[in-house]
């Protein structure tokens, strides 16, 4: 199925969880935050939150600014 990750389409397997997605992208679980369809997914829920077809996923981290 296709989901949107940080504005770009991405093919993932059915049943993919947030944790699976982060692992596939080579991202650490700490120092980042994930929102699915505009709702924050707390770190503790990454392994049990699966994404569905067309889900809009945002993955953010701290950068220099302000």
């Amino acid at each position: 199925m296709t989901i949107e990750v940080n504005g770009s389409p991405r093919e993932v397997a059915d049943g993919t969880t947030v944790a699976d997605l982060l692992a596939a992208m080579g991202l650490p679980a700490s120092g980042i935050a994930v929102a699915v369809d505009g709702e924050v997914v707390p770190r503790a829920d990454h392994v049990r939150t699966s994404v569905s077809e067309g889900a809009v996923v945002e993955i953010l981290t701290a950068v220099q600014g302000g």
Partner: protein, 251 residues
């Protein structure tokens, strides 16, 4: 601690809050942060890219500087609230520098959206530090909403125009029950001292240091200016007079 800077449940020695934006690279930024003596520094939240993180969080951790995430770039209360919640998740802090700007031309805060977002975030358990206009009424409303400080601007972000309305800053200070932190002042060190002389509790600046020809030296200058201004405020300036008054005894 002598004359600590108390904000919410924390005590700081330094009254200089810095930003991390505008530095040529992380090494330059780190040297400037150390020279500034800052204990609280803003960071922004952006999408991760293929290159991974920028390393700024690791640098702050190593330097024992608390991160203060901001909501830079947000235009609506809803955007700012989501960004704050993501920042809390990513950084493990409930402190947020709340920025909700109205348009690109001025980058001035949108008062309605700002107050709306501040109210929501305070209710959600955040320590909210709003970047606000130099408007004494709005500053009071933000304090009433439960904000831990108010951060009025000296002039629009990036203009370098210093403190355009010192009287408004004094009015905000006169009524505030929370720290007043002068923000958005890419300015000479003399204006950082002026902000403190006007009664501000702290100064927040970034590009004045990071984009200076010698960021490390400018950071040292700003640190000294803030200390000088604070001492001058506490010492009590002499009253202004219309006519001259000799300081030597008559002959």
């Amino acid at each position: 601690m002598d004359d600590p800077f108390v904000i919410a449940d924390r005590e700081y020695t330094s009254r200089l809050i810095t930003g991390t934006g505008g530095a040529a690279n992380l090494a330059v930024l780190e040297r400037a942060l150390v020279a500034s003596g800052t204990e609280l520094t803003t960071v922004s939240l952006r999408r991760v890219d293929a290159a991974g993180g920028s390393g700024v969080l690791e640098a702050l951790r190593r330097l024992k500087i608390d991160p203060l995430p901001n909501t830079a770039g947000c235009r609506t209360a809803a955007e700012a609230v989501l960004t704050a919640r993501l920042a809390r998740e990513a950084l493990g802090t409930n402190w947020i520098k709340l920025e909700v700007v109205a348009d690109d031309k001025t980058l001035l805060p949108d008062p309605m959206e700002l107050l709306d977002a501040a109210t929501t975030l305070v209710d959600d358990g955040f320590v909210v530090l709003p970047y606000t206009n130099d408007d004494p009424v709005l500053a009071l409303r933000l304090e009433e909403a439960g904000c831990a400080a108010v951060m009025p601007l000296g002039s629009p972000i990036g203009t370098g125009l210093g403190i355009r309305n010192p009287h408004n800053i004094e009015l905000i200070v006169a009524r505030a029950g929370v720290p007043v932190i002068l923000d958005a002042v890419p300015m000479p060190a003399s204006d950082a001292a002026l902000a403190m002389e006007l009664g501000c509790s702290a100064v927040l600046l970034a590009t004045a240091v990071t984009r200076a020809a010698d960021p490390e030296k400018m950071a040292t200058a700003m640190r000294s200016a803030v200390v000088a201004g604070r001492l001058a405020r506490q010492a009590g300036r002499i009253p202004q007079r219309f006519w001259a008054q000799a300081s030597s005894p008559p002959r």
